[in-house]
Structures are given as C-alpha cells and as structure tokens.
Subunit: 217 residues, 2 copies
C-alpha cells in the first residue's frame, strides 16, 4: 500500500506538471454522496465560465448521471468510470487527459467519487481541493473523517438552508476543521437559496488565478 501511495504521488506531480505546461489548473472537489458536489459545481461554472475556459472530469463508480448534467451546460466533460473503485487515482487522470484539448482550457474541475474517506488519500494533480460537507450529514463529520478536511483548502458547508432544521452546530464543525487545518477557508452555501456562492466562486477564482500566475481581478 505504501508503494501504491508513493507511486500515486509521482504520477500526481507528473499530471500537475503536464497541466501547467498547458496553462491548466486542476481543482479536486470532494465530499460524501449527496453532499451537493455536482450542484455546487454547476453554480461555480455559471459564475466562472465567462472568465475561464472550463473542462470537467466526472468521477463515478458507474453510470454517467452527473456527466450528462455537465454535458448539458455545453462544456467539455469526460466521464471517469472507476468500475467499482472508491476513489480516483492520479493514473486515471493521466489516462483521461488526452481526451481534452488542454490548450483550449484554463481550469479542469474533477468531481471525485462520493466518499468522505478514500479520495482524500490520493492526490490527482490538483492545485487545490474543495471539500463539500452538507448540513444533513451532521456536525460531527470533521471529527469522524479528519483526513478529508485536513487536506482541503476550503470547506463549503452546503445545504446551509437546513441548518435550523437539523440544529447543526457551525461552531463545532469550524472548530474541529481548524483544529486539523488552521488555514482552511470555510463557506456557508446553498444551491437552493444561492447563499455563499458568490463568495465561494470568488475564492475559487483567486486560487485559480494564483495557480495560473495571473493577477486576480
């Protein structure tokens, strides 16, 4: 297992270098099944597509429901079917890159497999990670699944419109997230109400600009 992880790190660095050579930044989006990864990505695309040329890799165990959603937006999207595996590895990304015209892209969003555990262990050539945790999952999840949050650059607390209904304790999540990752940036988002999506998009744009060596607008 240790060797697999080292090998994955090497491939991740190779993917990152290849993308950098084409001026492309990869963003790894992680979270549980149903946390709202696809809907958040759709909102980010709506706010960022004027400014960046965007491609998407949709990770799924099977099927192509999410890829169809993104395809309907008119963006280049490639389905990465892990055929049962619970995470995406860098090698899978390396194999899929030839399906894109990288010189015609600025950003490649990867929607990882819905899973709070395994995907966190594998770098896939990303410039940064966005973790999405939804309110109905509960305010103890950072304590139970710390690796996802210790390795992510931002955390979106999604479906935030349900905070009162679930008696979700923000302070508990924020305290536990910062205890494993003092630099994490936390957003409160809802695709239903639109809350926090401008702020999240602005942060994502800043990180993309930094990765691409551009001055932020």
């Amino acid at each position: 297992m240790h060797q697999v992880m080292e090998w994955n790190e090497d491939v991740s660095e190779a993917v990152k270098a290849e993308l950098a050579g084409h001026g492309v930044c990869l963003v790894n989006i992680l979270g549980s099944p149903g946390a709202g990864k696809t809907s958040t990505l759709v909102e980010l695309i709506a706010r960022l597509r004027e400014r960046y040329r965007i491609g998407v890799i949709e990770g799924d165990i099977t099927g192509q429901i999410d890829a169809d959603t993104i395809h309907a937006l008119g963006l280049p999207v490639v389905q990465l079917d892990t055929d049962g595996a619970c995470h995406i590895e860098a090698m899978s990304i390396q194999h899929i890159l030839p399906h894109f015209h990288l010189d015609e892209l600025d950003v490649l969003f990867v929607e990882n497999i819905g899973n709070l555990v395994c995907p966190a262990e594998f770098n896939i050539g990303e410039s940064f990670r966005l973790a999405i945790l939804s309110i109905p999952e509960g305010d103890d999840k950072v304590e139970k699944y710390p690796l996802m949050f210790s390795t992510s650059d931002a955390l979106a607390l999604n479906k935030y419109d349900l905070k009162e209904y679930f008696g979700f304790d923000d302070s508990r999540v924020e305290r536990s997230a910062r205890s494993v990752n003092k630099d994490i940036t936390i957003f409160h988002t809802s695709s239903r109400t639109g809350q926090g999506l401008e702020e999240l998009s602005g942060w994502v744009a800043q990180r993309i600009d930094a990765a691409l060596g551009r001055a932020s607008q």
Copy 2:
C-alpha cells in the same frame, strides 16, 4: 485484491459460525456518513432490547463519538477504530469478538464506516444487511452506488420527513433498488417523526428470529 477478498470471505464464514455457536446473530448496518445509522440503531435498540440481549460494534475511522452514544444506553459496545481504513473487514470483527460475553448476547449490531462504497464489498459474518440512505443524499444514489443496495436485505429511506423539501422521487429509488435486488425490502423512516420505525423494527426482529431459529412472535 482478489485473494484479499477470498480470505475475507473465509474469515466471514468463520465469524458467522463462531457466533452461531453462541446463538448470536450479527447485523451489518451500512450507509453514507450522516445517513442516520447511529440514530436508527438507537431507535431499533429501544424497540428490541426487551426481546433480545443486544451488543454493538461501532466502526469508526477515528474517535468514539458513536460508541459513547450507545454506551450511554447501557449496552455492551466495543469501538472498532479502523485507523483510517474505509471499511470493516471480517478479521477486525474476529479480533473484537473476545471483548464480548457472547453467551450473554442474542444480537450483535455492527455500525459500519460511513461510506456507500467499500464496506459493501466485505462480508463480516453478518446474517443480514440493512442499508440506510437518507433523503438529502438524493434519489440517484442507488444508480450511482449499486453494490451497497444489491447486497443489502433491506433499505431504509431515512430522514423521510424531508421528502417534500428535497423533491425526492421514491419511485426512482425503489425502481433502481429493485432492478439490482428484486428481494430488497424498503422502509420509509424518520427518527424525527418516528415514521416507519415500528415496521423496520418488526422486520429486523423477524430476520433475527429466522437467523436464531426461533419462532417469530
């Protein structure tokens, strides 16, 4: 990997035989992080503890939040800390059994790691499996993560009080679940409203009785 799985199957059979020798039935409870595995288990325990002597194994990647919850009910509970691993294997159960007085138990509930993917691949000596999918996760989850549902004996659609809020399409989930598992029994449950919990408890009791060779009440 194939060898690991075969070995796990052998150990699973050994665990099941050991438990049967003590008249104990193991129930594997699976689902995403935050689907409501612990709260459903608490409700099952409340309804079944008069009838069965119950023990609990709480699987967690780290920490013991859920084990503390069960311990507070005054039942024998052992924390199974996977130290980062994304699922429970039969060997882990085999190692933990000596912590229980098996002759003083009828049922051992195992709350698996919150994960819709990997735990489904590993039998752990169970007599039957209960999968919990919560409404906020979305009605496409059976299609995206079929193995969990094709290998479970029952599916509880939990947090059912949120069905309208999320526009959750029962018929889609039920159709997709039955397409991968024609014998699956489906319940609509909510720890908040109590809906469906009597029915679910009744079904669990029937399955326990069948496993223990008892006449159902």
